[in-house]
């Protein structure tokens, strides 16, 4: 056997399977400018649509005069709610069970809301026509604060009958959407009432926006001859869009083709269904020619899918020694004008109840009140699984506040409360079953890697120097240990609009041994064409370089729920492995026939089936594929194909330990990230290069969110951060160097043990950056200050602590 070892290594290397830092196959086209994004699509006779948008956050629409716009040369149509009403499309259902105006129906509820849709020869004429649509508004009082909204007499949603239930139960005020509760409130409050120590804090996770570099858009094309509607668009869930489009339009699903071409980043922004899609489809049906709609950046930031905006009131109880005994949380969730949150139906606050985090907390309670305000709708998971970022931020801030209360080191407080490795699978007080983890090992590795004790010494020395007046810069050490919950989800409790959240893979092996696999997901930069081929290579023994991965065309791909919430690897990746195993099972029978032995006498070995005990007798997968098509094999039908629809038995629980070392200038509020260490455990690692890239990117988005990025409104509901001058996106100059590391604790229920990683760095990154800011000012009595930690807010915190003399 020994002489075969190098050969086996060589064969394994040639597969470029799981664990290989395989270079990406997508890059050839992207680096040569040959990507194919929505705005690159041009169809014959295509028109261009653009919106007239509301300048007001709350107003009655008295009249809309489209005559001057229609008179402009090149304008084909101007749609208003009145034109959509006969089709029943002036409103549309949201993903959260609410409904949303497609075009303003009598009133507008947020600045930037879609009022009319202009269809013209090109985008220049459309833009001119938008200027010519005269809308008469009567301004109404504006509510931008959810706490005020819950007290106010002002009725935002006049379409909802007072006193009737919403999609998630009773509404106790006309601006109330739902109250959603989990856990044992009574028991939790009892524990808190009798606890040695209780830390209480209001933690606000501000409103922000995923802001992918490519905005949202689509090209809708109704072929009236064949009765077929094709829509190319920025869809993170193309199959769901097809079903929804069919239900709304009455067009049979077989006659709708949804195509997600290359997508220039999604981060949750492209999960939602937006008025632009609906209007483009209607306009194409009306005009009979293709209609393109592509947002500009201001449209994108003002009107599509914001994220977060959670006011989280927390109480955490502990013994004197620091053992956490209970966690209580109430959230006031600002959902904007319509409840368009993208969450599984049963979870109107997403998976926020993962907020017990990495800690063994015996009892807990969460209540979330959803509230309407005069802000844009959305509430998507911005590079996180449904509301997990909010949950992780909440618990990681509460831990820090508790550490202050206990006068304890926050690293030690975490360590004594971690769920132990021997407790997995672990049932949390809020109802989750954590699949696997080894938090202590990860934590110790992280602390050692950064020389935590040394950092604390240096921080103390700096503090002393600061107090002596020798420096104006403090050091903050931001700690985070996060636990994610991704891979929605078991169909039994996760669906979107009734569609179960499984995913799928369909594989065809060609006669000469190459293959194509199609999935129900869609990459937005994650590199699926590279990594899914690696999973398959390891499963079926065909080199990844010989496997094409296709996604995003509903005419060819199997049905799936799409890519968001780090679900592609946990769900579609599992489907890929399972479909591969079906291929392998058939290949085994073919190999046995060809080798003239019993099925049980052959075994799979990297890229072939060998006769047990006689490895020199084998058939390669290429030989088997050829035989599958070209040789009559008794009892086996020709061909080598498989499909798998995978309904995961549980979600996966990636985790990580992040440490951020930050310098803070107390005089100007400027910050500098001196060191950032990120240890991720995402179970089995498919492609370390891609994982590292995901971590770098997610950390940079976390940096942006924690340190400056926000969707801010003034009291009139005017959006103050509608361009990239004010909406903070760091450049290479502001972005630090990151050090990545890992442990590997496979998921016990996933076919290859993979957990998903894309969102971990955002989930863990935000508290790490934020905790560093807090930690720097902790010696002066800072407990908590709200994000984003831009210069003036840090300055204000320092100022309020008396650090400016």
């Amino acid at each position: 056997m020994n002489d075969l070892t190098p050969d086996r290594d060589d064969r394994t290397a040639k597969l470029k399977g799981i664990g290989c830092a395989r270079k990406r196959v997508e890059d050839a086209r992207f680096t040569q400018g040959k990507g194919n994004y929505v705005d690159d699509i041009k169809l014959p006779g295509m028109l261009f649509g653009d919106f007239v948008r509301s300048p007001y956050a709350h107003a009655r629409v008295k009249s809309i005069d489209t005559s001057a716009a229609l008179a402009l040369d090149g304008v084909v149509a101007v749609l208003t709610a009145r034109d959509l009403e006969p089709l029943g499309l002036h409103w549309m259902p949201t993903l959260a069970g609410d409904k949303q105006m497609v075009l303003a129906d009598g009133k507008v509820l947020f600045q930037g809301q879609e009022v009319a849709f202009v269809v013209a020869r090109d985008r220049y004429v459309a833009a001119d026509a938008v200027e010519l649509v005269a809308v008469e508004y009567e301004e109404l009082p504006v509510l931008t604060n959810p706490f005020e909204a819950m007290q106010s007499d002002i009725v935002l949603r006049e379409d909802l009958t007072p006193g009737t239930d919403g999609a998630h139960g009773p509404r106790r005020h006309h601006n109330h959407i739902f109250l959603w509760e989990e856990g044992d409130r009574t028991a939790t409050e009892q524990v808190i009432a009798s606890a040695d120590v209780v830390a209480e804090e209001m933690v606000y996770y501000h409103r922000t926006h995923p802001c992918p570099l490519e905005t949202c858009g689509c090209v809708a094309s109704m072929d009236k001859v064949n009765g077929k509607l094709t829509v190319y668009g920025t869809f993170q869930a193309p199959h769901v869009v097809r079903t929804v489009a069919s239900l709304l339009s009455g067009i049979e699903e077989r006659n709708i083709r949804i195509v997600s071409p290359d997508i220039g980043g999604g981060f949750g922004n492209k999960v939602g269904v937006y008025p632009g899609y609906v209007c483009s489809i209607v306009a194409s049906i009306v005009t009979g020619v293709p209609v393109k709609w592509v947002e500009d950046r201001m449209d994108n930031l003002m009107a599509t899918a914001f994220a977060r905006d959670y006011w989280m009131k927390g109480r955490i109880a502990a013994t004197k020694e620091g053992r956490i005994t209970g966690l209580w949380c109430h959230v006031t969730a600002d959902h904007g004008a319509f409840d368009a949150c993208a969450d599984p139906t049963r979870f109107p606050a997403g998976f926020f109840h993962i907020c017990t985090g990495s800690y063994d907390i015996p009892v807990a309670y969460v209540g979330v009140d959803g509230v309407y305000t005069n802000k844009a709708p959305g509430g998507v998971a911005y590079r996180c699984s449904f509301r997990v970022t909010e949950a992780a931020y909440f618990i990681e801030r509460m831990i820090e506040v508790l550490a202050i209360e206990l006068n304890m080191d926050a690293a030690e407080l975490r360590r004594i409360n971690f769920i132990r490795a021997d407790q997995f699978p672990y049932h949390s007080a809020l109802g989750w079953e954590y699949d696997s983890g080894d938090y202590h090992t990860a934590w110790d590795k992280a602390l050692k890697a950064v020389d935590y004790a040394g950092l604390r010494r240096e921080q103390a020395e700096r503090l002393a120097a600061f107090k002596r007046g020798e420096t104006r810069k403090l050091i903050g050490i931001g700690l985070t240990h996060f636990t994610e919950i991704v891979g929605a989800g078991p169909v039994k409790n996760c669906d979107i609009l009734g569609m179960g959240m499984f995913d799928s893979c369909e594989i065809r092996i060609h006669p000469t041994g190459s293959a194509i696999a199609r999935l129900g997901t869609i990459s937005q930069g994650q590199g699926h064409a590279t990594t899914f081929a690696q999973i398959l290579a390891s499963e079926i023994g065909i080199p990844a370089d010989s496997i094409t991965i296709e996604e995003g065309d509903t005419d060819t791909a199997p049905y799936g729920l799409g890519t968001y919430g780090s679900r592609s690897t946990p769900v579609a990746g599992a489907a890929t492995a399972m479909a591969g195993r079906k291929i392998r099972a058939k290949a085994q029978m073919i190999a046995a026939y060809l080798l003239e032995v019993h099925d049980d006498d052959v075994e799979f070995d990297i890229d072939r089936f060998t006769v047990k005990g006689a490895p020199e007798r084998f058939k390669t997968m290429a030989e088997i594929a050829y035989a599958a098509y070209n040789q009559a094999i008794p009892g086996i039908e020709p061909g080598l194909e498989a499909v798998s629809y995978y309904d995961p038995p549980n979600m996966t629980y990636p985790f990580g330990a992040y440490i951020c070392v930050m310098e803070i200038d107390v005089d100007t509020g400027e910050t500098q990230i001196r060191q950032f260490y990120a240890l991720d455990d995402c179970g089995t690692r498919i492609n370390p290069m891609v994982i590292e890239g995901q971590v770098h990117g997610g950390l940079t988005e976390a940096l942006a969110i924690a340190m400056g990025q926000e969707i801010a409104y003034d009291e009139m509901g005017n959006m103050k951060t509608a361009t990239l001058m004010d909406f903070f996106m760091p450049t290479a100059w502001e972005t630090p160097h990151y050090t990545t590391d890992h442990t590997e604790t496979p998921s016990p229920h996933h076919p290859i043990g993979a957990k998903g990683v894309g969102e971990s760095p955002n989930v863990g990154g935000v508290p790490a950056f934020s905790n560093a800011v807090h930690d720097a000012l902790r010696p002066f009595g800072l407990r908590h200050t709200h994000m984003p930690h831009d210069h003036w807010r840090i300055w204000k915190a320092a100022h309020d602590l008396g650090l400016h003399g």
Binding site: A127, D667, G708, T731, D790, H791, K796
Partner: protein, 284 residues
Amino acid sequence: MIPAAFEYHRPGDLPSALALLQQHGDEARVIAGGHSLIPMMKLRMAEVPHLIDLQAIDALRGIRIDGTRITLGAMVTQHELIAHEGLARVAPILREAALQIADPQVRYMGTIGGNVANGDPGNDMPGLMQCLDATFHVTGPGGERAIPARSFYESAYMTAREEDEILTAVSFDAPTGGQAYEKQKRKIGDYATAAAAVILTRSGATCTHASIAMTNLSDVPVWSEAAGAALTGTPCDEAAMLNAIAAMLADIDPAGDNRGPVEFKRHTAGIILARAIARAWSRA
């Protein structure tokens, strides 16, 4: 973001450009690099029926150093300013400031003339030019005029340049002594939260002359004569610096915006000025 339609003119010399401005009056604006004007046009916050592009006028180009007098043609880009080694030797503060404007791409297009003539309080060059006591050269139907930078700015976007005049060049004496341009901003591409231009001369341990100007802390750049005076004749010690800051704070009038409220900007202005003074003094 699509601008309204306009007619485009690209005159080959200054008289032609002036004639076009005369002909179209209020309807015309000149464009240099366009990185202030074009975004405004795209947002339809500026309507310009006649756009007069100055790129083909050679007379507006070039960096000239005649002894101690420096003249920058209006169409000299920030990139050219930064790359010019001769200029960096005689007036290093220009490179230091220009590197803090916008980003590399914008600096290839953005010009010194556009930056000073636009009257945007966020622009960095106006304050620097006031600090340098520069002269702005404009040409109109009545001929050439020289306007001191220190009296050029009236309010946001309103300047002493008449609408039928074109700013052709800026000139100034090469500064002597220590120079520093200090700018706090949120990120690359941002305007200043606060910025300070400082030029100090010293004789022995004494500051013999000081010129101080602040950016984006009022609706115009602020050359604070009093702040400069507070340093002159002093050893630039802490007391003098505090006096200079107090004098500067009396001259600025910042507005709150996304960068922060007024009290923060005033505090930051003081810190930034202190840093600029310290750096300039160390170089004097």
